[in-house]
Subunit: 160 residues, 2 copies
DNA sequence: CTTGCTGAGTCTGTCAATCAGACCTAGGGT
DNA sequence: ACCCTAGGTCTGATTGACAGACTCAGCAAG
């Protein structure tokens, strides 16, 4: 009989992937982040540009601000009252590689035949930016078989 | 007045991030992928291990199989009838960097004080595997300011 | 050959989230 | 005094999440 996978013996209560998905794993969250990273930071702009429902946008923004991924920054156009725009915090900026990874995958498998609608370029050099896996000894990792999951310091045994 | 962000002039209809999130952007999808990548591939194992509702697991698996991210593979334990397990396809394997990126972010901001429950190690060398941004000329990209979004071949003007 | 166990589901009813569309509101312009 | 605009709230219908019970196929023990 096949041996059971070792991962079955580990609890998933403190799994950081699961926790991350509690905030990131709603249909529109990443779309909001995409907009913000692309410089679209105002409520009406985002709503018109993405076509998402007002209420959902309100909710998502509040959730992201609450999670300290975005922050509200006041601004004032001349002849307008003060309003707020949404900008990524440092914690939010650190999600950029996730966005790049998602876009990379989406471009490969989900793009229209003409190709990707947007590209990320390295400022100064102009070459396209990708995400790569690399170990801390500097080796680049290509095949999935070259990575193994092992328990870390926060591991908890599973009792289910 | 501030110039409007150029991204506002681009349509998001063919945005590959949005499309990717249609399949990835449900609360449990990534959790299922995490399990599968960690070697937990059978219905009951996943259900018990994650605590997710049967119906949702059924739905997510069907959706992922439908999207060609997982495939059902028959197996048979001795003295048992034939059953199926779920394994990533190539398209599914290519989501691994996304999972690593999410985990990396989650570990930094969401982990318990003891640390991350699991780590990814480079097989052979044993060092931890991270995700890094790099441009195709080989430069590593660190700051968010070093990346710009530009229109790609599949760009469509926005008319909203 | 009936009874029970197990993995992998389906069925049903409840409760929460999504969505579209209408309504509200504070400042500013005319 | 009235209208415009960005950024919301409120309302009701549809969809999704969830828990718990039920189903079903094949194998095994009695």
């Amino acid at each position: 009989m096949t041996t059971p996978p070792p991962a079955l013996a580990w609890s998933t209560d403190n799994c950081t992937v699961g926790r991350a998905m509690e905030v990131l794993g709603e249909r529109w969250t990443f779309v909001v982040l995409r907009e913000v990273f692309n410089g679209v930071r105002r409520f009406e702009d985002m709503r018109r540009h993405t076509g998402m429902p007002r209420q959902v946008l309100t909710d998502r923004l509040a959730l992201l601000v609450d999670a300290d991924i975005l922050r509200r920054v006041p601004y004032r156009e001349p002849g307008q009252r003060e309003r707020h725009e949404y900008r990524p915090t440092d914690k939010g900026f650190d999600l950029y590689p996730v966005l790049v990874a998602v876009r990379h995958w989406g471009d490969r498998y989900l793009a229209d035949p003409e190709g990707s609608p947007v590209e990320f370029e390295h400022v100064g050099c102009g070459a396209e930016v990708d995400v790569v896996l690399r170990c801390r000894d500097g080796h680049e990792v290509t095949g999935r078989r070259d990575v193994a999951t092992r328990p870390g310091p926060g591991i908890v045994p599973f009792s289910g």
